[in-house]
């Protein structure tokens, strides 16, 4: 376990007094009195159309606090001190609230559906607000509406459902990273991920991975099961997120997991199984075609014909090895060796229930999801316990706990000589797999793919525990105090062994073992005050939060193993070890007020102050105010009462949020050790001081309009926002080389994001047997770097951050065509000096789409239902770096494979619509048709439009009718069939338009280099509730 080290200058001072006081208060308040019984009311509540019983419905006695809930058969019992007649208010999520006067028992109550759900209560930060009184922009997705497609984390299942939330699967490998951007990209290094809060626990969403997997990153959100989710709330504008202060700038995603309720225990069992397969792969040239291309390029580059690489084997010259004539070349297929049909299995079992005072939810899940790429595998074992208990009418305590372990098998896929795709895709097809002795033939740059598949040994395991306990005390009916204590503990272990059969295992085996741990403790104290008067409702809250994170780990490497049977580092001849340690703390005070006047006007404001240990001492405290206004126009006298236009709300908000998600201790000038020379210990200056390091701050305006039309069959919401980020944090802001440092964490610029979002829900059909509901979302965001001290090129040189352009814009020479006469490439000569130089490179688009969104259709017919999700994106670009290598005109010789499309190149004067002539020498204007292996100037011909429309998933379900389920003694039984990624329409020439293969580099988004495409999956699921 990661103990809080004693030698730390600061220690966690948990005030014992506080705990004592709390315990005492609990005991005092927990005393109850026995009520007097005067009447007893029995009844049943049914859906007004389907006449199905409704469970979980709340019945409240008017004027007093007494309430009860229906059981699964819709039955309830009211025992009260009141005498008949009395008024009860019946409310249920998704139904119109009904008020009736009860005058005798039993009764049957019919509830009408309310699909606009405007009075649903939403959790906004630290308070709960009726949807109609929201001043902010937010979206809610119910757990049951999450996609059935085989994604390991909840975030992937949200794609296309929330306007303004851009979600890209970086890779088709289960459990790997997802690019998530809410309302655009505000920051470069300050973190762009939204803040994830699971049951009041602010969770860490940056991964602890230490191994280089060629750009592939594991996704820490995959630690959380997707089965236990009740709902997901996405807070978008600053008024909703400012109360999260320094961490709210990228939006907040609140995840609520299932809790028990007052009913008899219910057992739910689910299983899902199915297969995944990858399609749309690259097509490579034959061995003979490869040889001809290389020979032609060799001669065009000025090589002598008699020295061409593919010449008769016995023609020995002083030049390089003779590979034999082109027609003698065989074609070897490596690519198909790495794929497989992957079989997924998922089982989950949960029990939930409770009584008036206590309820519980216990859930467990096992998931095994192999990748369609061999040697990659994701599993998850997770277990959840949520408990709530009412000690009295005033005091409630509860806990949420999740523990999971996610073992993975991994392989290095993307960049780097030892990657699987380099071995399978980039090794030339003519190159024999075996040598004359039947041994694996190792290419000079890449691994032998079979050797790799047989000898890769890389595994990781993330063990994660998320825990929260809370107590909520009603001090007076209008004032509650909630104290919440949380921890997020994550151990990430990984080990790899490269055997001597691999290039990476030379000379005698190489092993790495990493163990990283992170513990985040937080304490939140919150006071909530709510009063209702005839004219309006007032809600006030005040709180305090403290969070402490301790992160550390060790890496041990070993080499010089006695044999491949000895893989543990203990057997290594040479062992090396290193450790890391880091910590951060955040202290916050916040408060807010919300006043709603006559259900027409709502005004609210929040304020938060955050102090972070990461920020330079002089700028440590950040202050984040926000305010909002909501006008329910339809409640005005002048608004005509009409079923065709029943609801109209306008809202506006403004707020400031912050960001300090940089590494710890970036403001200090530091020296570090470990820079040894031979056997001598060395120390070096490792970080330049920047005492001026400030918070990154984002200001956001939001204007929204909500309407409900056509007898509540159509509702829509439209939001416009304008975000402006100042003091942009760049963790790798380049400094002059003469300083002896490469970069510094610096506040270096300003970025704006402006956009519009639209969502509409339409009930196209609504009757007893058939219903059809459509949800359509569309959003647009424009991102622009408004100010930047200097252009920055990072990671890969074709990605650039420059004033006046979107972040991660692609910086290339614009190819106008190929000269039909000479076959040479023609680039736009921007500065008109007749030469193609660096100055002529242009920023020509980015991965950020002009528009994106989704379309969801849900149809139910009797016992059948169909759900289909379509996502689409328009105007996004990808840099097809795979193609850059595979369409390299034969100039890379025997180093790289060539793809089939290369064959369409310029051969004679007059050829048009072709790739340039095969050569890599410098053309008269300074351009090059193809790049030699080491060069680095990029053509726009690899910059592609990656717009797409994708049928993300379609699920057909059949539920056993209740008369059958009753006879077999189950509550519900449903079978589903899901197809995922069935159809994708795109012009993009690579295998998947959603690729993002260098997500580990902040400036490089939109690069496709050996990305694993998302597979097509067919899944069968079964869900039984007892």
């Amino acid at each position: 376990m990661l103990a809080i080290r004693q030698d730390r200058r600061i220690k966690l001072k948990i005030p014992l007094g506080l705990i004592a006081v709390m315990l005492w208060s609990i005991v005092t308040i927990a005393q109850e009195t026995t009520p007097l019984i005067n009447s007893r009311l029995d009844g049943v509540i049914l859906d007004s159309i389907t006449k199905e019983p409704l469970g979980e419905v709340t019945l409240r006695l008017e004027g007093v606090t007494h309430s009860t809930k229906t059981d699964d058969d819709g039955k309830f019992q009211f025992i009260t001190g009141q005498k008949f007649p009395y008024t009860i208010i019946i409310s249920y999520v998704g139904y119109k609230t009904k008020t009736i006067v009860a005058n005798g028992s039993p009764i049957t109550i019919l509830l009408e559906r309310d699909d606009s759900a405007i009075d649903e209560v939403e959790i906004v930060g630290y308070t709960k607000v009726k949807r109609s009184a929201l001043t902010s922009s937010m979206s809610v997705v119910k757990g049951k509406d999450l996609s059935q497609a085989p994604y390991t984390s909840v975030i992937e299942k949200l794609q296309g459902q929330v306007p303004g939330l851009l979600i890209t699967n970086d890779s088709g490998t289960p459990g790997t990273s997802v690019l998530v951007r809410l309302r655009g990209t505000n920051s470069v290094n300050g973190g762009n991920e939204p803040l994830y809060v699971v049951d009041d626990v602010i969770i860490n969403s940056d991964n602890l991975q230490g191994l280089n997997l060629g750009g592939q990153l594991v996704n820490p959100l995959s630690d959380i099961s997707t089965n236990d989710i009740e709902s997901i709330t996405v807070l978008k504008d600053a008024n909703a997120t400012a109360v999260y202060g320094s961490r709210g700038a990228n939006g907040v995603i609140l995840i609520k997991t299932n809790r028990g309720s007052n009913r008899k225990p219910r057992v739910n069992f689910g299983l899902q199984t199915g297969t995944s397969k990858t399609r749309n792969l690259w097509e490579l040239v034959t061995g003979e075609e490869h040889a001809n291309l290389v020979n032609e390029a060799f001669v065009n580059n000025g090589g002598l014909y008699e020295n061409r690489p593919f010449r008769p084997v016995n023609e020995s010259t002083t030049a390089f090895p003779a590979w034999g004539l082109p027609e003698e070349q065989e074609t070897y297929d490596r690519l198909s060796a790495i794929w497989r049909t992957a079989v997924l299995q998922r089982y989950n079992l949960s029990v939930s229930g409770g009584n008036v005072n206590s309820n519980f939810y216990i859930g467990g899940e096992y998931l095994n999801q192999p990748s369609t790429v061999k040697e990659q595998d994701f599993s998850r074992y997770s277990f959840r316990v949520n408990l709530d208990h009412k000690l009295s009418d005033r005091l409630k305590i509860g806990t949420s706990n999740n523990i999971s372990t996610t073992p993975r098998k991994l392989i290095r896929v993307g960049d780097g000589g030892t990657g699987l795709f380099q071995a399978a895709l980039h090794t030339p097809t003519f190159y024999p797999i075996f040598d004359e002795n039947g041994q694996y033939n190792t290419h000079f740059t890449f691994e032998n793919v079979y050797a790799m598949l047989e000898n890769t040994d890389t595994e990781s395991n993330s063990i994660r525990s998320l825990n929260n306990v809370f107590a909520e005390i009603k001090i007076i009916p209008s004032l509650t105090f909630k104290s919440s204590w949380s921890s997020d503990y994550n151990i990430y272990k990984e080990h790899s062994y490269f055997s001597t059969k691999l290039v990476a295992g030379q000379p005698a085996g190489n092993a790495t073992y990493n163990n990283t741990e992170r513990l985040t403790l937080s304490a939140d104290q919150l006071l909530n005050y709510n009063v209702s008067t005839i004219s309006g409702d007032l809600a006030v809250f005040l709180g305090n939060s403290y969070q402490f994170t301790d992160k550390g780990g060790h890496t041990i490497t070993g080499s010089q193993f006695p044999s491949d049977q000895h893989r543990q580092i203990v057997s290594a001849g040479v062992r090396n070890g290193t450790t890391t340690a880091s910590s951060a703390s955040l202290l916050s005070f916040f408060g807010g007020i919300n006043y709603s006047y006559k259900d027409r006007y709502v005004i609210d404001g929040t304020f938060r102050s955050d102090g972070s240990s990461r920020i330079g001492k002089d700028h440590r405290w950040g202050h984040f105010p926000a305010a909002g206004f909501n006008w329910r126009v339809s409640n005005e006298e002048f608004f005509p009462k009409s079923d065709n236009f029943s609801e109209l709300r306008l809202k506006a908000s403004w707020g400031l949020t912050g960001n300090a998600a940089v590494d710890d201790f970036q403001s200090l000038g530091l020296w570090s050790g470990g820079s040894n020379y031979g056997d001598n210990v060395g120390i070096v200056p490792s970080q330049m001081a920047n005492a001026d390091l400030k918070w990154e701050k984002t200001r956001q305006w939001n204007f929204g309009l909500t309407g409900v039309l056509l007898n509540q069959r159509l509702d829509f919401e439209i939001n416009y926002y304008d975000k402006y980020t100042k003091d942009l944090l760049l963790s790798s802001f380049p400094v002059q080389d003469i300083t002896g440092f490469s970069s510094i964490t610096y506040n270096a610029g300003e970025i704006s994001n402006k956009g519009i979002e639209f969502i509409a829900n339409s009930d196209n059909l609504k009757s007893k047997h058939i219903s059809w509901r459509t949800t359509f979302t569309i959003s647009r965001n424009t991102n622009k770097v408004e100010k930047l001290l200097q252009p920055i090129t990072g990671g890969y040189r074709q990605f650039r951050l420059e004033e006046g352009h979107a972040i991660s814009s692609i910086w290339v020479h614009k190819q106008l065509g190929v000269d039909p006469q000479t076959g040479n490439v023609i680039y736009e000569d921007v500065d008109g000096d007749g030469q193609i130089t660096q100055e002529d490179r242009q920023l020509l688009g980015s991965v950020w789409p002009d528009f994106e969104g989704g379309l969801r259709n849900s149809i139910t017919y009797k016992s059948f239902d169909i759900n289909a999700n379509i996502t689409y994106r328009w105007g996004n670009r990808l840099y097809n770096y795979t193609k850059y290598f595979l369409e390299s005109g034969g100039v890379r010789g025997t180093e790289r494979a060539i793809q089939k499309s290369q064959l369409n190149y310029w051969k004679q004067p007059g050829d048009i619509n072709v790739l340039p002539r095969l050569s890599s020498t410098t053309n008269p204007d300074g351009s090059r048709n193809y790049e030699p292996a080491s060069a680095n100037s990029y053509s726009s011909r690899f910059l592609e439009d990656a717009s797409f429309i994708r049928l993300k998933d379609i699920t057909v379900g059949y539920s056993l009718p209740s008369r059958i389920t009753r006879t077999i003694g189950v509550n519900q039984a449903k079978a589903t069939f899901t197809a995922a990624n069935l159809i994708t329409i795109t012009k993009y020439s690579g295998p998947d338009p959603e690729a993002n293969s260098a997500s580990d580099r902040a400036l490089v988004q939109g690069m496709d280099f050996n990305s694993v495409p998302q597979p097509i999956s067919f899944l069968f699921g079964l869900n039984i509730t007892l």
Binding site: P507, P685, M688, T793
Partner: protein, 449 residues
């Protein structure tokens, strides 16, 4: 009870707030704050080893870039390119920033070690540490000048982001003056003579000899080369391969060393795939032929290893220890002989006899048969051609060839025959990496790039 609760709530908030006044003052555990880090003998030495640590990192790409730029070494992946040309985006992998990392670390020592108060640190030890820092700074500026011509000169440690703002490039002469000034300081301060993995008196002499060769001060070049040659601790070791199969042999004057724990991966770039390497860099075919020729290469053929599968392919064994302990040979005695031979030939009053005797020392160690012979008709030009050829073979993979051809003004003829662009003088210095120019408004790119 209501009032009680309220009071306790207030108390809770109060206790909480007061206990968190210093919650935000965390100190890093993995690193140490800048101030006072060099405080005694131990930390002074550790900071010095920190410079050597960077030499390990920077000297490898230095060798690679110089080797590939000449006509001795080519990339296996692009066998048609014997001599590449360069552009700002692709400057052949020449390091730039890495030199300034060395310089900054040296500047810290030069400024702070003289101020260290520690009884354990004797004056001689203090001088040695500061002297080595001067030597390593000179070494960095010299290589910067060889790559780029005149560069920005900084002699103060970087303590703030704006410490060096506004520093423009110096001329080549000014940069060379800095090299000489630092070498003079190093000569004055360094007393160590024995540790070949660090800067000794002789390393200073040897680098000075090289410096005078490049600046064509022949008498001084001869004088400084002689200082090491005449010392009995240094000799041409036999057989030829001993200097790289052994470690810190008598051949070495300054050797950048690695250990199995502090290992180098350079061997991967040079060994063939049969030996577990990537054969990234391979010798140029005509150089192979010359090394295999007894009259030219002699025993130096053993620096090569023939491939079994591809008999035309030879891999270089110089950096070939697979446990990563192969050294980089920055200064060795054979170069000093050849420097002296050239200086003796070129000085105003040529000493052909002496020059040839130096040349023969190197040839005989390499068991070349027959040896170079001279007689009455041998001209100065003949000797210079022989020296140039000898340098090409003797120092084949140690990064000398390209700059030798530049400084003797032979680049257009020799390199230009492989790549016409190399006839253009702008190609004789490297372009500063485009990314370095981008981030420094005071850093002007070399003309032509």
């Amino acid at each position: 009870m209501r009032y009680q609760s309220k009071i306790y709530l207030l108390l809770i908030m109060l206790i909480w707030t007061t206990s968190c006044s210093d919650l935000l003052d965390l100190q890093p555990e993995a690193s140490v704050s800048d101030e006072g880090v060099i405080s005694d003998k131990k930390t002074s030495l550790a900071a010095l080893y920190g410079i050597y640590d960077n030499i390990q990192n920077s000297y490898t790409p230095t060798l690679t870039a110089f080797n590939l730029a000449g006509d001795n070494v080519i990339s296996y992946a692009t066998p048609t390119i014997i001599v590449p040309d360069r552009n700002a985006e692709d400057n052949g992998g020449a390091p730039f920033a890495a030199f300034y990392v060395t310089i900054n670390r040296a500047n810290f020592i030069i400024k702070r070690v003289p101020e260290v108060v520690d009884n354990q640190l004797t004056d001689a030890e203090r001088d040695q540490i500061v002297g080595e820092a001067y030597f390593l700074r000179a070494f960095a500026y010299f290589d910067l000048a060889r790559f780029y011509g005149g560069v920005q000169i900084v002699t103060e440690p970087t303590e703030r982001i704006d410490t060096h703002k506004g520093t423009k490039r110096s001329t080549l002469a000014e940069t060379y003056n800095q090299v000489l000034a630092d070498l003079d300081k190093a000569e004055e301060l360094i007393s160590g003579e024995t540790d070949r993995s660090r800067a000794t008196k002789f390393a200073v002499y040897a680098l000075k000899a090289r410096f005078f060769l490049y600046t064509e001060q022949w008498e001084q070049a001869e004088e400084y080369a002689s200082k090491t040659i005449s010392n009995s601790n240094f000799s041409l070791v036999k057989p030829f391969t001993t200097f790289f199969t052994d470690r810190l042999s008598k051949e070495s004057i300054f050797e950048v060393v690695y250990t199995a724990v502090d290992a180098s991966t350079y061997w991967r770039s040079w060994l063939s795939t049969e030996d577990g390497g990537n054969q990234t860099y391979v010798p140029e075919p005509s150089l192979i032929a010359d090394l295999l020729d007894p009259a030219k290469g002699g025993a130096r053929k053993n620096i090569l290893k023939q491939s079994v599968q591809e008999p035309e392919l030879y891999a270089v064994q110089l950096y070939g220890k697979k446990d990563g302990t192969s050294s980089l040979f920055a200064l060795r005695i054979a170069e000093q002989y050849l420097i002296r031979a050239e200086a003796r030939t070129k000085k105003s009053n040529p000493d052909i006899e002496g020059a040839v005797s130096d040349l023969l020392e190197v040839q005989s160690r390499a068991e070349v048969t027959p040896l170079f012979t001279h007689n009455a008709v041998t001209t100065v030009e003949d000797v210079l051609v022989a020296i140039e050829e000898e340098r090409r073979l003797e120092l084949a993979f140690e990064g000398h060839r390209f700059t030798d051809l530049i400084r003797t003004n032979r680049a257009a003829e020799v390199l230009g025959s492989y790549n016409p662009l190399l006839k253009e003088p702008y190609q004789w210095v490297f372009p500063i990496p485009a990314s370095s120019v981008e981030k420094d408004p005071d850093l002007e790119q070399n003309k032509g790039y």
